[in-house]
């Protein structure tokens, strides 16, 4: 049985046509089963937990965007009831990096078809020391100006301080003030940079049990020597500057934070265009 987690955005007027198409297609395919709608009272956590507790649902399908998928995955992984039979799927209503990773088509009907086919793969789950799980990446956002005091200092000193981040990897530390830094489990969102930097996209795989630290400067044209690529299983991010991090482009995390990966922890429904 399939259980669908409908995000609020699914009910938007602009998505009315897509929603109708999805309902019709799922009905046609005979997989329009139970659903839970995210609202002020019903959180993704409570909906997923309820679905798994019922014992009737092993396939939890997020319907929405990256945030919906991210919250649903976290809810599945943190639920005491979820087990090896539990499967995650996504029907994307917006452009989504997680959908790209899983190869779920942006065309709603094709996405429904992929759900019905239920081709399964086990994928790695990255996690942070604050208990957040992610499929795609942990993006590190370095704001050019730091605290209010630093802002004032920078105003008078002409030279704007570029915030830096230190990442501990095995027996060494990496210090960088690159414009874009990410700890990636999947290449989604980084394909163009990896290609231009001469790095094989297949090296960033969500099935290899490794994380990849990618850092590059967006200010100049992307070239190989502007890009860093380091592979490890565990990393720790620290920074004295004011930086923030986004897990799966959704959840904000503050440093210091440790990051690890658990090999092929979650069963997911994939499409033909998956990135692994």
């Amino acid at each position: 049985m399939f259980f669908y987690v409908y995000d609020k955005l699914v009910g938007n007027k602009k998505n009315a046509k897509k929603f109708g198409q999805m309902q019709t297609k799922l009905n046609e395919l005979g997989i329009l089963n139970d659903k839970g709608e995210v609202g002020t009272v019903n959180t993704v956590d409570s909906i997923v937990d309820g679905a798994l507790t019922s014992g009737r649902h092993h396939n939890i399908i997020a319907v929405g965007n990256d945030a919906t998928a991210h919250r649903t995955i976290n809810a599945i992984l943190k639920s005491k009831i979820s087990n090896k039979k539990t499967v995650f799927g996504l029907i994307p209503f917006e452009s989504s990096h997680i959908a790209d990773t899983l190869g779920m088509p942006s065309d709603i009907e094709k996405a429904c078809l992929a759900i019905s086919r239920s081709k399964l793969e086990n994928i790695d789950i990255a996690y942070t020391s604050d208990g957040t799980c992610f499929i795609n990446s942990l993006s590190i956002i370095c704001k050019r100006l730091g605290s209010h005091t630093e802002k004032l200092k920078n105003l008078f000193s002409r030279q704007k301080k570029k915030p830096g981040v230190t990442i501990k990897v095995r027996d060494f530390t990496v210090t960088t003030s690159a414009d874009r830094i990410s700890i990636c489990n999947s290449p989604a969102g980084w394909e163009e940079i990896l290609k231009k930097s001469g790095i094989d996209i297949n090296k960033v795989s969500p099935q290899d049990g490794f994380l990849d630290l990618i850092a590059y400067n967006s200010a100049s044209e992307v070239s190989e020597n502007d890009t860093s690529f380091i592979t490890a299983q565990k990393m720790e991010i620290i920074s004295q500057d004011k930086i923030s991090m986004l897990a799966d482009y959704t959840k904000k995390i503050q440093p210091p934070v440790k990051v690890g990966v658990s090999k092929q922890l979650l069963k997911v429904i994939v499409g033909k265009e998956r990135k692994f």
Binding site: N83, D171, T173, T176, K203, F210, Q233, K263
Partner: protein, 146 residues
């Protein structure tokens, strides 16, 4: 589910056939130890060791001892360099430190200050290729002029 599986994480290691790239904007401190090829454009202070090959590019500034199978230097190295097989110093390369290699190539214009050791015993470790050669000696080929 998540917590229960935390203990299943494999011990730290390095993925096969993956290159490590240290970009120009990156500074590495500590022991950068790997199994695969490395390309360095940025700064490294500490130690760089790999079983693969190392390419120290023109923008790189290394204050570390370097050890690899093959080493190609176009940047600046302050520290000893040990290549199990071949050490190649390009014309833009600068080395301040002792070097050791089986095969050495220093281009015109390169800068080298230190001692050079080209004996076969420059490394206590034996490369995988050498180990293979030791186990299966190459057959003697009888070359006759026709």
């Amino acid at each position: 589910m998540f917590k229960n599986n935390e203990g299943e994480i494999q011990p730290a290691g390095t993925k096969e056939n993956v290159e490590t790239i240290i970009g120009a904007s990156v500074k590495v401190e500590g022991d950068l130890i790997g199994q695969n090829n490395m390309k360095i454009y940025g700064q490294v202070a500490g130690k760089v060791v790999t079983k693969g090959d190392i390419f120290i590019e023109e923008s790189a500034n290394i204050e570390a001892d370097v050890e690899a199978n093959n080493v190609t230097i176009s940047g600046t190295v302050q520290g000893s360099v040990k290549a199990i097989e071949r050490l190649e110093v390009q014309k833009s390369g600068k080395i301040s430190g002792d070097i050791a290699a089986k095969i050495l190539s220093i281009a015109t214009g390169a800068n080298f200050s230190g001692q050079c050791n080209m004996s076969d015993n420059n490394s206590q470790d034996t490369s995988p290729l050498e180990k293979l050669k030791e186990k299966t000696p190459l057959p003697k080929v009888d070359v006759r002029e026709q």
